[in-house]
Symmetry: C2
Subunit: 321 residues, 2 copies
Amino acid sequence: MAIRTSFTELFGVPHPLVLAPMGGASGGALAAAVSEAGGLGLVGGGYGDPGWLERELDTVADATDKPWGAGVITWAASEDAVRLILSYRPAAVFLSFGDPAPYAVLVKETGVRLICQVQDVAGARQAAAAGADVIVAQGTEAGGHGSRRATLPLVPAVVDTVAPVPVLAAGGITDGRGVAAALMLGAQGAVLGTRFCATPESLYPDWAKKRLVAGSGDETSRTRVFDAARDFGWPAPYTGRALRNAFVDAWAGREDELRASAQARERFALGHQAGDPDVGLVWAGEGTDLITAVEPAGELVAQIAAEAEELLRTAARQLDH
Amino acid sequence: MAIRTSFTELFGVPHPLVLAPMGGASGGALAAAVSEAGGLGLVGGGYGDPGWLERELDTVADATDKPWGAGVITWAASEDAVRLILSYRPAAVFLSFGDPAPYAVLVKETGVRLICQVQDVAGARQAAAAGADVIVAQGTEAGGHGSRRATLPLVPAVVDTVAPVPVLAAGGITDGRGVAAALMLGAQGAVLGTRFCATPESLYPDWAKKRLVAGSGDETSRTRVFDAARDFGWPAPYTGRALRNAFVDAWAGREDELRASAQARERFALGHQAGDPDVGLVWAGEGTDLITAVEPAGELVAQIAAEAEELLRTAARQLDH
């Protein structure tokens, strides 16, 4: 049994499940594990560091013959980074956070599929105009960078706006219930991030994986503190959802001061490096409530797909004739 | 055909659809229309004004023999307001925004069902401990007052936390797709607010209904500006989601100053009264993208239920054997 959607048809994958291309989590090993299990694994190219990208793209290309892809942060990307990814002949390039137009032509002229992630209806219009083959509607409940709109109402609004372009749902999806819900909303699949951070294959340090297992969605918040601490120039309206800790509480609302203090930023870097949970950064979505163990990515794909399939198979039983 | 869940069984209603008890929108006529169509209509008692409550409870009690209920804002409620509602022998009392314990005993000793709306997992635990018969998990995408967590990840987390208490989903649900998604997440039904504001029966003024039809979810935001303008003492963490306008943009971040300025508050009151969209308050959830017309509440109930039923009936078709 498998779920067939226009997304699974387009990529020739058995499951409508995509690994979010998360910098610092989605390396080649995690992407390959998801692809091998029948999802679409995406390497998280982040800010486009060429050394990191080459190493992780070598890893995924060596580890799987199944379709895989890679993503970069649009506003931070360079033509070189996108060309480097394209040189590996991936199944898809994933662009998020900014106008995809500058790179869209580059991707599409190679015949590689373009997946654009958007955070609102206006962004979906922009992605459709740029020629996106797939549009991801990302809700605010997602871990890491994102914006304000929430997944449940955003997905059908984007579906209606960009039809017939296939839409995937991202943000807050952690198990088969979330995947089945996404399909009911009109999505053709789901992008999961935080759930795959708590896997042996993820690049998260062990202390951060433990915090995901222990943490609740109630403890996450969208913040600019960690971007200030790392002196990254994320433009409005993007913020990052992470587990709250003493460091966030101390600097929330004082991000400019933090950015200006080399000493405070050094304290963050050292605390994070040391795995101090009161200081360190753990990007985490609200779905972290449903993460109760570190589990292999391939097993998660199988388990989440099976749970979603069972929900679809038995959905009509709720009807009373 | 109808959807049968533990919620529809508990109340003996045909559809797992609930009208949110919205102050300023859900009067007796709207609640009766939803109940007559097979949902559960709830009068929005708001801050508990006895004259208003008596008039609207008279209206709903006269207009329908089907199950209906009424809600109040927990932190603003009084024992008198709750006793007044109970004197009408409603099917349910709905409490939201604060610890329900002080009124829970009062409701339950009369045999009336207690529905508690919560905004996070911690609140769900509190509601279960207070003996709630039904718990509503309300996401941040909801119109009007609410908090930070989003519907899609909150619902399954609450379901797992309070089982076997039935859970309803609220926030961002506007059509049958949202209702079917809520059921996949493990909810036993859905609470709809903003969608029912754009009905002839709603107490919203016509200019506000027009703005809901024209507006997009991208244009809403959670704000404290309107509570400051009305000098209402909403406690943290509650904010209200409304359509953004020039008034919100002018006062965001300066709520204390607004509250202290009788002149500015007067300007708001006059502008709102006059239906000036640059000033006036239109509570609106993110689902407003999907509202394209003012439609009778009863027709909406039938249409939304039919759409959800069709999605459940055909869900298994996405499976490929």
